[in-house]
Amino acid sequence: MTNLAIGRLRRFSATPGQMAVVLLIAAFLLAFLLVPAATVIYVAFTEKGTSNLTLVNFLDFFRNDLFVRSFWNSVYVSSLSVVWATLFALPLAVITTRFQFRGAMLIQTLGFLPLIMPPFVGAVAMQLLFGRNGSVNLLLDQHLGFKLPFMDGLNGVVFVQSLHYFPFILINVSNSLRQIDSAMEEAAQNLGSSGFRLFRRIIFPLAMPGYLAGASLVFVKVFDDLATPLLLNVKDMLAPQAYLRVTSIGLADPMGYVISTILIAVSIFAMWASVAVMRGREYSTVQRGGGGLARRKMKRGEAILAYGAVTLVLLLVLSPHIGLLLLSFATIWSFSPLPDGYTMANYGRVIGESSIYIKNTLIYASLAGLIDVVLGGAIAYLVLRTKIIGRAWLDWAAMSALAIPGVVLGIGYLRTYYGVTLPDGTPLATLSIMLVLALSVRRLPYALRACYAAMQQISVSLEEAAENLGANKRRTVRRIVLPLMMGGILAGFVTSFSTAAVELSATLMLIQSNSEAPIAYGLYMFMQSPAGRGPGAALGVIAVILVAVCTFASHYVIERSQKAMGARK
């Protein structure tokens, strides 16, 4: 009897180190996410004009047709975006990771670019190409006499969102695919499976951690994204509704925060569901030594098909960047398929100021990315490898950051930390480290999901072997777990880094001076005037190239470490 109890106890106990990590992470999330957000969002639970607690606002939410319609619209758009993003991402991921494919690294990088579309400029460029009077439609109208409503209404949002966020799936699935022992594939081929069936039955299910990580991010991100619908002037979705309410002066009503709360609830539910799908499944494929990670050679026909598919997808997903590039060299581009003329002047105008922005961006984004992979890795480890009570709460708390609008977080930071000052009187909230923390909190979900997926694919026995040879948990993590999940960590870092590099809403609230501003802020300043559009685009191009170079570098590292893992052949 007592023995049984001890057995149980042993199972649930954790090492002091793990406890310390849990407490640290909890403290971090509390200090930089939950408390600041709560200082703003608690309004949702009060009666307007008083501070009486009430739930009547939530009742109002469900009684209001606009909100209910917005809710279902958001669900529709998010679900459909996941479908389309999957269709864009899977071919790229499979072709570049499971086959010997020239330019795989380049494609991985290019396929990643949509994520680093800076605010405003991306939408402007998209409108110029696909808008109702964009290049494509003008040409269609001219030659065929009809137009296609790419960017109109909910389906327009789906179109733009799936192009924008499919890299979440691409990068996570790619990483998962890289982890699959080639013996898994060989065994299936040996039993007569090939092509799409092989993919559907073996490869894809084994890459499920990565896919679910990516797909759930897409779903939640699209659900919580306000910028794209607003830029397409779709207002009857949930996130735009929240934003419009929260940011309109004189509308200090609780409904904005009620919507935020609902966004958070839906996000957490979606994350929970994606984890629940995977519960009880095994994905680690390293068995008995491991067969290595072979890449198949493609036959001619396959190669042609593959290159065709890749080119098509890339052309589509990179169209905003193509538009951006054109815009940055354009003199005037108005109601015409192509700009009226080309110039370098836009670059000339930004080149001087951009260096400070670039420097700041690199510092902030890489610090934020670093914090994210550290936290994300730690949370993933706690959730997947320990039985500490409350570990799932860490996961969900971190994920809720996706649903908290940047403005809300920014205001929360000011509210929480402006009053706290350094000895010399500088408010804590004005330090640029606060901006870094805000960025890292906002991008933590990306890194977390990537790390989570990567860890699911590591066979526990590899860790056991290390412990057996005398490595304690910490050393095992450092020497075995970290190297093995390097791909996932890098994937997480790259996503966090690059999206932090172009984040605006919290930045706008927290930035204190031009000299501390990142590139997104610079973009914002340019994009507020007609004359600033060209320079803004030029700055956008610089931002994209900058982040792309960093992305390429990390793909290079992933690729090399994979080679080191020893591919057969």
Binding site: R11, Q287, G289, G290, S461, A466, N468, G470, A471, K473
Partner: protein, 364 residues
């Protein structure tokens, strides 16, 4: 006879005491009331059919499973509450668990580095361990570039390199060829003797267990069926299960009849075996004998003769195994194979000659 150690505790060697251990995987009761005492410095084997819980017990000792009840002490210390890395219990995993991102040498060096040994000491011991398993020349390969047997040898080298006080070997030689297996197990035995390690060896090769182990525990169905020295187990199995599991055994069913005041074990209507005095026959008791203890000649000699017909012939290398139908059961008889010696053919009528001191009377 196999050389057996006298079991005297040498300084440093650890005793393993397992008391009343039960292990569950969820609902599944995998280990049931295991009690076992392994002497310091002993070379101990676990034998048992596939899936009977051998690995589970090793993993418990190494710290990767939880006991639902019971105690495990190593060197007098309760280790169940200890984390794996403090136990100084080296384990060779059945699945190898080699790290794909590290070269062979770095795999082997891992445990030594964890012990913060000086660099040259690490290099020396990695080299020694790899040489020991014949893998010195492949130190720079990655695990995925090795053959199955080579991977297995790296797994062995990795664990013995750290010279743990207790060594758990989970089928460490299963993928090696006979020559290599003999060589590595000799080295293991030498190492064990030299360093005075308490060693548990899981194997499916009974010859192997007999050849190098001091004692053997036979597992069956999550329980320990019998513990003893190899020859004792072979000669005096405690149950049908053990007799059957350890080497090939012929088992004849029958019933006790008394004819003319003499007790007979009636196998078929025409075949009966006299039961020696002092043997109790209860329902379920069978007559058991080993193939090589019987012979086929009808030449003289004490013992029982069972008439039969050759039904199958298998060449085992050093001997020929005949299947002989005795009544409705086939019994196997091994006859040493001499080059040029005449071999009986299928269908030939023979007598199975059974020396009375080789007959075992066992119940389930």
């Amino acid at each position: 006879m196999a050389q057996t150690r006298d079991g005297a505790a040498v300084a440093g060697a650890r005793k393993i005491e397992i008391t009343n251990v039960n292990v569950h995987y969820g609902e599944l009761h995998v280990l049931k009331d295991i009690n076992l005492e392994i002497q310091p410095g002993e070379f101990f084997a676990f034998l048992g059919p596939s899936g009977c819980g051998k690995t589970t017990l090793l993993r418990l000792i190494a710290g990767f499973n939880n006991a639902s009840s019971g105690d495990v002490r190593v060197g007098g210390q309760d280790i169940l509450a200890m984390p794996p890395w403090k136990r100084d219990v080296g384990m060779v995993f059945q699945s190898y668990a080699l790290w794909p991102h590290l070269s062979v040498a770095r795999n082997v060096a891992f445990g030594l580095e964890e012990r913060k040994l000086p660099r040259d000491e690490v290099a020396r011991r990695v080299k020694a361990a790899l040489e020991l398993v014949g893998m010195g020349h492949l130190a720079d390969r990655r695990p995925s570039q090795l053959s199955g047997g080579q991977q297995q040898r790296v797994a062995v080298a990795r664990t013995i390199a750290i010279e743990p006080k207790v060594l758990l070997l989970d089928e460490p030689l299963s993928n090696l060829d006979a020559k290599m297996r003999v060589q590595v197990r000799r080295e293991l035995r030498d190492l064990q003797q030299r360093l005075n390690l308490t060693t548990i060896f899981v194997t499916h090769d009974q010859e192997e267990a007999n050849a190098i182990c001091d004692r053997i525990a036979v597992f069956g169905d999550g329980r320990i069926q019998q513990v003893g020295r190899p020859m004792d187990l072979y000669e005096r199995p405690a149950s049908l299960f053990v007799a059957n599991f350890l080497g090939t055994a012929n088992i004849l069913d029958g019933e006790l009849v008394t004819v003319d005041g003499k007790r007979l074990f009636k196998v078929t209507d025409t075949i009966s075996v006299p039961v020696p005095d002092g043997v109790t026959i209860s329902p379920g008791t069978r007559l058991v004998f080993r193939p090589q203890h019987a012979s086929l000649e009808d030449a003289g000699g004490q013992g029982v003769r069972l008439p039969g017909r050759v039904s199958n012939i298998e060449f085992l290398g050093a001997s020929v195994r005949y299947g002989v139908m005795v009544g409705t059961s086939e019994v196997l008889i091994d006859v040493p194979f001499q080059s040029g010696a005449s071999v009986r053919t299928v269908g030939a009528d023979v007598n199975v000659l059974l020396p009375s001191d080789c007959m075992l009377w066992l119940a389930e």
